[in-house]
């Protein structure tokens, strides 16, 4: 049967709406931001002019930008390592136990469903420096002599934020690693046991190669998500105390909606995008290499 040599418009109708959404809501804004980043655009004042790369120059010579960048790196690396560790170990544990698998999985998935505002409020209440459950418990148990101020003490606030983010993000890693683990054929382990392989050898030679690519993808997606995350820190500490937890998205927000300098704020967000692009290219290079090795 030969195909008709007529232009087939119908297939384009199917993908057109999504292309329009991507074009207007994702591609256009990028170029729009790129343009505004080279202007003196203000949130309220209508007049603005083109100033070339002056905004970028101003941002890249601002000490607070580098502080925010370092805070972002710390926030991302700390959260990522914790989420991967907890997510991975719980997935392995659930995969190993024989009873209550489903119960554990269901309970542990709960944090993932939390809206960011409820994550913020619930933890702010649990850690409240006056009537919070945890500070009072620590005092009653004699572990602390005074009520610890988890969210305002500059020596604890960053660790606290990262732990909250681990609590929230580990379930997603767990669910994905667990389903990758379940795709590994059982007989491979049985064969290895007959050959006398230790549990560690089985993990190293069977488990790791099977789930490497999935975990790699997870790391990329999580890195981007955590780096871009605005809600959690903004709602819990607002970047404080004394701008200590001000990451790049919060720095950009304060510049755009606090001091109302949208042009300069756009320059910050474009730099953020470029950095993430660079990071993902490196990651995807590594994953592509793994995939080649597998074949």
């Amino acid at each position: 049967m030969k195909r008709k040599v007529k232009f087939d418009y119908a297939r384009w109708v199917f993908v057109l709406p999504a292309l329009v959404v991507v074009g207007t809501l994702l591609v256009y804004p990028i170029f729009s931001s790129l343009y505004y980043s080279m202007t003196t655009k203000h949130l309220i004042k209508p007049a603005y002019k083109f100033i070339g790369l002056a905004n970028y120059k101003a941002v890249l010579t601002d000490a607070n930008f580098f502080k925010a960048f370092l805070a972002s790196i710390l926030w991302t690396v700390g959260s990522l390592i914790g989420q991967i560790f907890i997510g991975f170990t719980t997935a392995l544990a659930i995969n190993r136990v024989k009873v209550a698998k489903g119960v554990y999985r269901t309970l542990m998935i709960i944090p993932w469903a939390f809206p960011s505002i409820v994550i913020a409020l619930s933890w702010k209440w649990i850690l409240n420096g006056v009537s919070g459950f945890l500070p009072n418990l620590l005092v009653q148990l004699g572990i602390c002599s005074t009520l610890p101020q988890f969210l305002s003490d500059s020596s604890m606030v960053f660790v606290t934020l990262i732990l909250i983010n681990i609590w929230f993000g580990a379930p997603m890693i767990m669910v994905n690693v667990l389903s990758a683990l379940q795709t590994i054929p059982r007989d491979q382990y049985e064969a290895a046991q007959i050959d006398g392989a230790s549990r560690f050898q089985q993990f190293h030679h069977i488990t790791v190669p099977h789930i490497k690519v999935v975990v790699g993808l997870l790391v990329v997606l999580r890195t981007i998500w955590i780096f871009n995350n605005f809600d959690l820190i903004y709602l819990i500490t607002g970047g404080g105390p004394a701008q200590l937890t001000q990451t790049v998205p919060i720095y950009a927000y304060n510049m755009g909606w606090g001091t109302k300098l949208l042009g300069k704020s756009s320059a910050v967000t474009i730099l953020l995008l470029l950095f993430l692009l660079l990071i993902s290219l490196v990651y995807f290079g590594i994953i592509a290499k793994w995939e080649k090795e597998d074949k």
Binding site: V15, A18, I117, S122, L221
Partner: protein, 277 residues
Amino acid sequence: MGKVKDKIGNGLCHVYLIILSVIALFPLVWVILSSVKSDGELTSDPTRFLPKSFTFDNFIHVIDDLKFATNIGNSLIIALATTIIAIVISCMSAYGIVRFFPRLGNIMSKALVATYLFPPILLAIPYSLVMATLGLTNTRLGLVIVYLSFSVPYAVWMLVGFFKTVPIGIEEAARVDGANKFTCFIKIVLPLVAPGIVATGIYTFINAWNEFLYALILINNTKKMTVAVALRSLSGAEILDWGDMMAASVLVVIPSIIFFFIIQNKITGGLSEGSVK
């Protein structure tokens, strides 16, 4: 020897999982318990677990005096509208990608995943400017449009996985019988993928219901606020009433969790299936 070692290993796994389950569950339990305690009890006895007396005062106060029901209504309308529009658009294009663009399709879905890179804070600036120009600031419509930016790419990505499972033979048989592309799509393909569409829809709904940043930037009128932004503005008050905050939190978090439980078995394999191909 091996057996004993195995048993100890299993026991340790259970201990580890129990501890982590408690940590995972605790904030939800604490929010619910705090929401039914009286204000006096919240501050006088911070580590007491169960309430001395149950009270629904916090809920009544939140709904009657703080008009939280209006915000819940806004969030419901916005999340539902986003879900319906996003699912219609995404079903069409996911099917289009799978069936009609065998080669281009892979690039298309990769490009969609790449949009995950775009920082929401970057997009927020042009969104606020465009919505102001169009007069859509402080409207639910404006927020629904903006929400399509993250819901459509994600839904297409999820749905492509489901549509790939439909064997092409079924469609070819229908086409031979004279059905055109659209009839074939609606009458034959959609029903087969219905469970996947429902799961994707629920996930889209949860994400729209939970969204915060765009709602913060586009809405400043209390009557138009979504639950997330309304709660944020309530918690900005000088003297914070934690009982009220916890009652409102219960109303916001419970729908998310129920929906999440419904689809928990569908959202599992997303990444691993996507990467196997």
